[in-house]
Amino acid sequence: LAKTTQPISMDSYEGQEVNITCSHNNIATNDYITWYQQFPSQGPRFIIQGYKTKVTNEVASLFIPADRKSSTLSLPRVSLSDTAVYYCLRINAGNMLTFGGGTRLMVKP
């Protein structure tokens, strides 16, 4: 199965906006894109999910262009507590999640 591709790591500073882009060139028509966050010694936690265009919730925005070959997670005004691994995932109609390598985000003071 085709996996998603994203940067291995990113650094940012408190108060900045962080954008993490994910590539999924061969995404299936019935797949959605979902993002999860994981802290050390914890399981992944759902952030946001979308199919196309823009989705926004209280913690993030997700931009998926019309061709759906990529997506961008936007975290506004990050804080130190946002330091974590962020996974861009495909989810199919059977609710199976396909994990990639994740992006390790480090937020500095």
Binding site: G43, G94, F99
Partner: protein, 115 residues
């Protein structure tokens, strides 16, 4: 409301021994999933229960792994006999009974070390 819980949090066993991992999903969640991350690799899907039935077990690596969910509540994952390459973190997740594309709630994982 309690989240997904997993027991034990850590397990250290010797090669050839048997280990049983337990997962208690969020109450009322019909869907239960097992995933694992072995050393240096990505998190991978193992299997999916809907209530007590195995909906998809395509990710189970071999017949040394046996998952059960009797009564459709908690689930166990038994590894027998354990091998060195089974070392890793085993995650359980649950989600409500809906048509799909549903948020999954993960437990903290069980770290398994096979010596």
């Amino acid at each position: 409301e309690a989240g997904v819980t997993q027991f034990p949090s850590h397990s250290v066993i010797e090669k050839g021994q048997t280990v049983t991992l337990r997962c208690d999903p969020i109450s009322g969640h019909d869907n239960l999933y097992w995933y694992r991350r072995v050393m240096g690799k990505e998190i991978k899907f193992l299997l999916h229960f809907v209530k007590e039935s195995k909906q998809d077990e395509s990710g189970m690596p071999n017949n040394r792994f046996l998952a059960e969910r009797t009564g459709g509540t908690y689930s166990t994952l038994k590894v027998q006999p354990a091998e060195l390459e089974d070392s890793g973190v085993y995650f359980c997740a649950s989600s409500p009974r809906t048509s799909g594309y549903t948020e999954q709630f993960f437990g903290p994982g069980t770290r398994l070390t096979v010596l």
